[in-house]
Subunit: 220 residues, 8 copies
Amino acid sequence: MEFQIDWQRAGRTGVPEAILCSRKTPTQLAAILAEARARGARLLLTRLDEAAFAALDEAARDGLDYDPASRTAVLGGAVPLVAGSVAVVAAGTSDLAVAHEAARTLAFCGHEALLVADVGVAGLWRLMARIEDIRAHRVVIAVAGMEGALFSVIGGLVAAPVIAVPSSVGYGVAEGGSAALHSALASCAPGVVAVNIDNGFGAACAAIKMLGVPAPAMVG
Amino acid sequence: MEFQIDWQRAGRTGVPEAILCSRKTPTQLAAILAEARARGARLLLTRLDEAAFAALDEAARDGLDYDPASRTAVLGGAVPLVAGSVAVVAAGTSDLAVAHEAARTLAFCGHEALLVADVGVAGLWRLMARIEDIRAHRVVIAVAGMEGALFSVIGGLVAAPVIAVPSSVGYGVAEGGSAALHSALASCAPGVVAVNIDNGFGAACAAIKMLGVPAPAMVG
Amino acid sequence: MEFQIDWQRAGRTGVPEAILCSRKTPTQLAAILAEARARGARLLLTRLDEAAFAALDEAARDGLDYDPASRTAVLGGAVPLVAGSVAVVAAGTSDLAVAHEAARTLAFCGHEALLVADVGVAGLWRLMARIEDIRAHRVVIAVAGMEGALFSVIGGLVAAPVIAVPSSVGYGVAEGGSAALHSALASCAPGVVAVNIDNGFGAACAAIKMLGVPAPAMVG
Amino acid sequence: MEFQIDWQRAGRTGVPEAILCSRKTPTQLAAILAEARARGARLLLTRLDEAAFAALDEAARDGLDYDPASRTAVLGGAVPLVAGSVAVVAAGTSDLAVAHEAARTLAFCGHEALLVADVGVAGLWRLMARIEDIRAHRVVIAVAGMEGALFSVIGGLVAAPVIAVPSSVGYGVAEGGSAALHSALASCAPGVVAVNIDNGFGAACAAIKMLGVPAPAMVG
Amino acid sequence: MEFQIDWQRAGRTGVPEAILCSRKTPTQLAAILAEARARGARLLLTRLDEAAFAALDEAARDGLDYDPASRTAVLGGAVPLVAGSVAVVAAGTSDLAVAHEAARTLAFCGHEALLVADVGVAGLWRLMARIEDIRAHRVVIAVAGMEGALFSVIGGLVAAPVIAVPSSVGYGVAEGGSAALHSALASCAPGVVAVNIDNGFGAACAAIKMLGVPAPAMVG
Amino acid sequence: MEFQIDWQRAGRTGVPEAILCSRKTPTQLAAILAEARARGARLLLTRLDEAAFAALDEAARDGLDYDPASRTAVLGGAVPLVAGSVAVVAAGTSDLAVAHEAARTLAFCGHEALLVADVGVAGLWRLMARIEDIRAHRVVIAVAGMEGALFSVIGGLVAAPVIAVPSSVGYGVAEGGSAALHSALASCAPGVVAVNIDNGFGAACAAIKMLGVPAPAMVG
Amino acid sequence: MEFQIDWQRAGRTGVPEAILCSRKTPTQLAAILAEARARGARLLLTRLDEAAFAALDEAARDGLDYDPASRTAVLGGAVPLVAGSVAVVAAGTSDLAVAHEAARTLAFCGHEALLVADVGVAGLWRLMARIEDIRAHRVVIAVAGMEGALFSVIGGLVAAPVIAVPSSVGYGVAEGGSAALHSALASCAPGVVAVNIDNGFGAACAAIKMLGVPAPAMVG
Amino acid sequence: MEFQIDWQRAGRTGVPEAILCSRKTPTQLAAILAEARARGARLLLTRLDEAAFAALDEAARDGLDYDPASRTAVLGGAVPLVAGSVAVVAAGTSDLAVAHEAARTLAFCGHEALLVADVGVAGLWRLMARIEDIRAHRVVIAVAGMEGALFSVIGGLVAAPVIAVPSSVGYGVAEGGSAALHSALASCAPGVVAVNIDNGFGAACAAIKMLGVPAPAMVG
């Protein structure tokens, strides 16, 4: 057998097993989905772009809730959502795909995030207009590409933990996201933490761990 | 005036202002300490190696609690400590300087950390022998150099948030800590977050934010 | 003549000459296959993706045993297989293409490998469930992308030589496989050795050399 | 002869020839100074640390105005200063050496800069308290190490050209200044320009060119 | 709402808000254009390649002045142009796309640039034949890929500020533009400043700030 | 006018002007070819892949001698060839495109090169079988990708100057050619010189300069 | 307690626990040696330079067999040596420190290595003069800095497994050893494996694993 | 024996064996010098800084001609010099150590080089004043650090082969010499070739090969 789902992950670590689809074949994905259905388990699929979703056969797609903006799909239906815990802040419109991945992962685990978009620091008034809304949440996820200055500015304004998600939006020295990543790690605002470039899923998992609320039970 | 201490930081962001001493002159440090004393404020100094401490004049050193293992000094005395919240885990003996910096920062803010040392994954039984102790804490700080495999192994074993601190311990491809940093960021264990290389102070600040406990008041 | 096959390689170095197809034209590949047929020699082709295989004309494809999962083709038929010498361990489903390349190369030389898949360290129980099977082999090939923590964990658990094959599976700081490569080289488990990223063929050749069993004779 | 001073530089390009001392021997520096004295020319020396200044013999040091904070020396006396054109803003106390190099170069050419220190964005109020003073100047030079978020924040707040000088202050991913440099270049605030890491002299030269005021005549 | 245009940018910083189109969807671009039309505002779109322009629906394209050579589009019509302020110099024919982006941005703000093309330093006479024309301008924008030697040569010949725009034209060590960028930053000609690779827009914004001429009013 | 051909280059530097086609549009190439025809000048075009050649209109292609293996085209006909001066040695079959570019450039200038292919050092006998042929030439151009060990081995065996051309053939750490480039530059065989990755044209130009034979006259 | 020796390592993995001394304090080393003596265990110390050895107090140095050429020390005496299994080949005189570290580790485990020095490929006859001696061994360890061409040449000449140890000997692009490391990994000779830069200890451990001979018993 | 001098190198490759002293111990150097004396051979030592020279005992230093400016020593006396073949051009005063190493190596082989110093392109008139002298030579060696623009400018002005030696002079992005190296390799002037950073010795060896004049006989 070519895969082994870690069904016990949520119980052991508080965050759900999820399937990163980017290098998997339609056949592999179909087999994984079939096992989940057989166990009656809920499952989150990430990095499933529209072409990959379309390549799944009908049986594999059955009952999948697919969202192209975040490139995620959910098997097994939604859980009731609680709002007020996490704010997801995106520096620019181009960072929204990553922000949506974080928000969908949170929703999979029962948290409705506040999404604040297009508040880059070149026009600081945009962030200031929303800062009280952001401060009202227990964890902040910040997504930014280019030079990633947003991480330090937010980190200096809120008491909540700030999880920086560098995005691969940028060109030249910012190509691929390393400039934003280095800004997150070298931030002069103490207490900012970082995840890998474009890793909205990982940021959401970290937020869930910080909230101390175990992920909804996965039967399996 | 060549410096402006951000005395309001703790109130605004939950973590204390601290002074990174590595590129400051004895004169600059003395002036900063004098202002803190004048305000009756507590203050944490980091990256203060023994030569730099020795270079301070007597007035500047007065009342400083200096700890060479963590290269930190505290002005203004200790606060009562509460145990049980944070475990600081170091992969090797050489990672202890960074681990001690994290523990001292936590102590400055009232948290007594559990320190678990020399549990690298090449001998997995050492980590397994301590894993229940680690699991009993609300936040885990893991310090590792070389290839940083510890981050993923711990991340897969505990439900608490795991803050990875890559250390600069290593040589060849691990020189300077980037191999360990990349292991932290690319970890296959979802929810691991990272701070900059050797940044024990920043990891402690992030832990304090996660605990939601404001730093002890700084009069100033 | 634009190529010179090193037909004596197996006799001289114990490992077979093989043809890396990735930058060769269909015409060049056809000429090489024609020479092998004229000599009655067996030949292994690697990195031959499905489009490149399809671009070969019928004469060139005649008698080729093509395997898309490993992107390899064999000319000259199979040899009897002996099991029990080599375990090939893949961290994730996405690493299987590289693992299959190693297994096909071993089979070309008469070794049937044990393939163990999807045992990443984020769910350590998966590896532990298979560790005795792995320990029963004389050489271990481990394939992993992302942060490559598997190399150190296996290296600390088995007495056999461990050949690490970093895979290019990953994104952000793990893009292209360098994070996994650095983990292999900086491993805290002494005695782990590494080959180039995605080089399943090279790992198999190293395993064959370690087994001290010359490759099956190539008539030429 | 081992050197040729470009005495015509100021006339041709508007900025003065200066001597970068970091890799020159005391003998080479003495010869250069002797030629300047023979021509009755003013001359600026940069990167002249205290040990290098002390290594000059008395004849070479004669009439030199040496400033250890900026590691610069001036031969040929001061010119009258005009204030109000350039603001030099330093993110942290450790960035002051670079800021002083810029200010000394400006003073060599007749401009008295406003120096604003320790206004990093982790405590945004510090910058906001000084922003009107900064806005009153025609060119802004901003010096920052670590993540260099200051460049984008200032760039979004002022109409004057902003010259970013990344400093080598930092550690881990910020070691050597490349993180700050990349933040300057990838800034989301359009119109920010950058010079090399720690190049306070170059930033001042660029400012002088922007002001359109030729450097004071150098007789030679 | 997924975007917030910084309509006040020109008033606050002297340079216009512009829309970087490279990662935005046709739907997002259409919404932004609709808001600009509703406000009666002029707007500049950059990095809009021909496929992206063609993907806009007719309503979105209405009244857009699209220029494929610079990959820019202008909404809201042209303003009267004044010549004589800025020279845009391109080292090679392949650098023209970036040079055109700079010239279009300048034209959006009312400046007609002099464009000087194909004056690489391997044939120095080509630059020398045009140097007096270039010297007649108040700001020089130089665009070069490969090794970027043009920046230093021009920087040593003109008194105007020189803004270096490294281009991604090149291969091998010059792939992506970093060799040219490093040449710009390490230039031995003092006063050369740099923007990010291929950032013709940013260079034009910097030139506008240096000219001290506010961008044409944007009604909004 | 968007281009200025450096028609005097051959007279001034001994090597011909050539047109690097990789980023030029069909319109730009057609205009350049038209000018060459108008002057009655010969012209070499490099990096002209088959799609780009096909995109030229008939007038532009008229009289062009196109060679897909080297991706070069010659306008103005061939010159008489003299053999015996330059050996072009390629490590593997995949390096032949670069070797052919060098040979075509040499032929454009009147030199017929000896081409020796597939002599990588993993089978040293292949190189040894040809070494006397290679030694009979006045200049050696060596092309190799992967680890580039060929450069040092040849450099230690021949008295002629050895020009190393690293090729972009390789994967993993050899991706893009930097491993081969670094081998060329760090060669333990003194006197090996290097050109940029894949730069067969540049290597041929250097060989022509070393031979001290001016390029055939270009009328223009 | 700040350290936990993995006394069971030899039994579990076939290679001994050893102490990397480079970042440990004299106090830490003394404590580790004391524990080893208390258990009656043999112990190998690596990267112990002369200053660090001199910094140990007399009790810690008691009975230590220190070798400055390899920077190693052995506690607990020698074991009988068997010759004929491993050849250690060093490209240059400067690579000998690393080669000696490998040889000392092998000796600690009972293997007397053949040491072959100064056989760089720039003078191929030197290697050829020794190749039969090298071929007589079951495992070959090759140490080389600079461009590391030795790895591929040896890999193409012997049937034994070749373990490449890149050394940090070199300057410019070879500074720190990465050029040699990349040559090892990208070797065109299949079956070459690599360890980290300067890691003579790790290469010896890999050789011991390949020989299938458990390390001498460590009582503890 | 720990070294094997390649005494036949000059006869086989046209360039002399030389001893790179930077990582060799005084004992190793003394043994090498003793062997050279025993054979009556001439020998060149490079990278021998003043401290290393002083560390040699008297017997080792006997008859050595040591030159601190180039950090070279010659054993066995001088040979008659012929001028007119090679020009060595240094961009700045700080590049002279490398230029002197090239000149001393040429002198060891009988060529007296013309040394042209401090002709950086920021003041182009300095190079133009010397260009006819440079053109009178058959090979040009150009040494430059910082951005290395000199290589392209000279390459476009002379017909002789140009050997670029990037120097490690510089800071920030030019630290260590990689910016200058990349400028040499990516030069827009065809026919420029490069050697490793600071490798004046290698450039001289390449020049000697180009001149086709075998190195003076080395008896041994």
